[in-house]
């Protein structure tokens, strides 16, 4: 096991910069998830760590050694691919032991390691089957088993759950977490699914356009996003962004949304926001769970307002309401016990203690 360090790593394809100078320190045992939309450079970054792509500039270190020019087979890493990449002509046991056999491990040790990994992943019964005879979930377990038996310094996962159906994905997510808790190998995991990122990671790295937008533990990214991109990417349904402006009335700051709604800034944020120039174009960022029904949220922190939802989505444990406000479509989350109908007015309340204020031009959270 080892730490992984990226220093100003750049990847260029002809004229296109896919990765634009990434710095990342992954300590030993940590589970780091690289997340971002397609084309953000997360897979390229992972493949550079694996050695499957050359590095155009910068340095990658595994266990303190610079590995820029070290071929993949000498990096002591194991990788799990999106389409499993199992060797179709080999049985499960042969697939798992391939790496060990190449390194001429003693037969007894190979058998012991394969048996142990198979037990951990609950695939002992499948050990003599060929990949064709396995379901998607089973194949992904075998792919993980192939990584585990090698006992490498680093695990690399490239969107391993994308080919599975929704239910299996949740199941395998838990399996992956369990395996990591047992083996504690440093792990870099790539996904475009922010739920996977939030649930699996010790730290999440949000990437966009070949750069790192923000690094932090899942809760920090959720509650204290640094940019509009991170705020909008993490969380489902996504955060609402409402154009707004600052007003000062009687020495108190308030946010004006549209013509009708003026919301007082909570006192603890007053100092932070007072320095913002008055003419700055702002966005008010509110997560759906902070736009709630006024009926069950009556404390002083909630500011009530009226809205007319045009879509109601009952989810069972909560109900999402979609309504227009100040020229944008917003999403709120109300108590499922409340009777709400599309087209009929509904009294909602906003919890400004969890508000975010963003500079519309720069996209930074203020």
């Amino acid at each position: 096991m080892a730490e992984v360090t990226l220093r100003k790593v750049v990847k260029r394809y002809d004229d296109v910069e896919a990765v634009r100078g990434i710095d990342l320190d992954i300590p030993d045992h940590e589970f780091v998830v690289l997340v971002g939309p397609s084309g953000c450079g997360k897979s390229t970054t992972l493949r550079m760590i694996a050695g499957l792509e050359d590095i155009s500039d910068g340095e990658i270190m595994i266990g303190g050694d610079v590995v820029n020019d070290v071929p993949p087979k000498d990096r002591d890493i194991a990788m799990v691919f999106q389409n499993y990449a199992l060797y179709p002509h080999m049985t499960v046991a042969e697939n798992m032991s391939f790496g060990l056999r190449l390194k001429h491990y003693p037969k007894a040790e190979i058998k012991q390691r394969v048996t142990e990994a198979a037990r951990m992943l609950d695939i002992t019964d499948l050990i003599d089957r060929k990949p064709k005879q396995l379901s998607g979930g089973q194949r992904q377990r075998v792919a993980m088993g192939r990584a585990i038996v090698r006992n490498p310094k680093v695990f690399l996962f490239d969107e391993p759950l994308s080919n599975l159906d929704a239910k299996l994905r949740v199941q395998m997510r838990i399996e992956i977490k369990k395996v990591h808790q047992k083996v504690r190998t440093t792990t870099v995991y790539v996904t475009h699914d922010q739920v996977e990122a939030m649930t699996l990671a010790d730290r999440v790295v949000v990437m966009n356009h070949g750069r790192i937008e923000q690094i932090g533990p899942p809760n920090e990214l959720y509650h204290r996003p640094a940019t509009k991109f991170v705020a909008g990417f993490i969380g489902s349904p996504a955060m609402n962004f409402i154009p707004c402006r600052f007003e000062e009335s009687g020495g108190l700051l308030q946010v004006r949304v549209g013509d009708t709604i003026a919301l007082p800034i909570p006192p603890d944020r007053m100092e932070r926001y007072r320095a913002i120039p008055r003419d700055t174009k702002l966005l008010l960022g509110l997560r759906p769970e902070h736009l709630v029904d006024a009926q069950s949220n009556t404390s002083a922190t909630f500011q009530p307002f009226d809205a007319t939802p045009d879509v109601i989505e009952p989810m069972g444990m909560e109900t999402f309401v979609y309504f227009p406000l100040a020229g944008t479509q917003l999403c709120g989350r109300i108590n499922p016990g409340i009777e709400a109908r599309a087209g009929q007015p509904l009294r909602l309340a906003v919890d400004l203690n969890h508000m975010h204020l963003l500079n519309e031009a720069t996209g930074h959270v203020l």
Partner: protein
């Protein structure tokens, strides 16, 4: 209203099913008709060869029904199979084909792997170039090749012409480009993650080729083998041009040069020789075809 809809739905549905099954029946009948025509057309020559091979020379030249054997005899078979000449042709053909298949595979598999997988400067142009060399007809090449061998003999004193083994060097010029080309296609269809997984697992390029690519691409390799074997077994022009002594001949040219004496055609033996010559490829195809299919479905059916 409701009853009307139900009445309407009933019969229209029935006729639809009826017409579909009738369509299928007709399609089946037509496919049988064409398949039978096809089979008759292509089985016509070998059947005629077989019938002729059972006749004596006298019966062949007699004005009787050519589709019937009145006095069946195995004399043609016995004569050919006990003639040293014919057995030499057979042995030469077999040796040439085995060596050519081996050489072709030894060159084509690594070449196709390199062209399909290793990115290097000019690899795509090279791949197209390999195919273009196949497009040059062999009738254009045998005179320059003849000249080359003559020059080689002048310079080194090693006589290549009129030795059966010269064909081992000549045939790969026909088989290697085509086999490489079809295997590039086959290798390219193997997911890239498979070799990446092997490389991450610690395999070298050579190990990836031998332990992953060759077993996975076996159906493609068998197809290429069949092609290489067919070309070297049935090639006629080159052996006719490059070998002349009777003991250096292979089957296709040997049968023609020894069984046609002047304007006398020994039809019975020519047909027998051709049939016996066609047997080994047939047997090999039948065997490899089974293997090919079982290779494709091995993972799916074995317990």
């Amino acid at each position: 209203m409701t009853t009307v809809t139900i009445d309407k739905a009933g019969p229209s549905r029935k006729t639809k099913i009826g017409s579909m099954s009738r369509d299928r029946k007709w399609a089946l009948r037509w496919s049988y008709v064409f398949l039978t025509l096809f089979a008759v057309f292509f089985l016509f020559p070998p059947i005629y060869m077989f019938i002729t091979s059972l006749k004596t020379s006298a019966e062949i030249s007699a004005a009787t029904n050519p589709w019937w054997v009145y006095n069946p005899t195995l004399s043609n078979y016995i004569e050919l199979l006990t003639s040293n000449q014919f057995l030499t042709f057979f042995k030469n053909s077999a040796l040439v084909s085995i060596f050519v298949v081996a050489i072709t595979m030894l060159i084509s598999i690594p070449a196709a792997f390199a062209l399909a997988r290793m990115r290097f400067w000019g690899s795509t142009t090279l791949a197209t170039g390999v195919f273009l060399t196949y497009l040059i007809p062999d009738t254009l090449l045998f005179i320059p090749l003849f000249k080359m061998f003559a020059t080689f003999a002048q310079w080194t004193g090693i006589e290549l012409i009129n030795h059966w083994w010269v064909l081992i060097f000549v045939y790969p010029t026909l088989t290697v480009p085509f086999c490489t080309w079809i295997m590039i296609g086959y290798f390219a269809s193997i997911p890239k993650e498979l070799d990446e997984a092997a490389i991450v697992d610690g395999a070298s390029w050579m190990q990836t080729l031998l332990r992953i690519f060759v077993p996975v691409a076996l159906p493609g390799i068998i197809a290429a083998t069949i092609f290489a074997f067919t070309v070297s077994w049935a090639q006629f022009l080159y052996p006719l041009a490059f070998t002349s002594s009777v003991d250096q001949q292979v089957l296709p040219s040997g049968i023609i040069t020894t069984l046609i004496k002047g304007d006398v055609f020994n039809w019975g033996q020519i047909m027998t020789g051709a049939l016996l010559g066609a047997a080994p490829p047939l047997i090999i195809y039948a065997f490899l075809m089974d293997y090919y299919i079982s290779g494709l479905t091995a993972g799916a059916t074995k317990g």
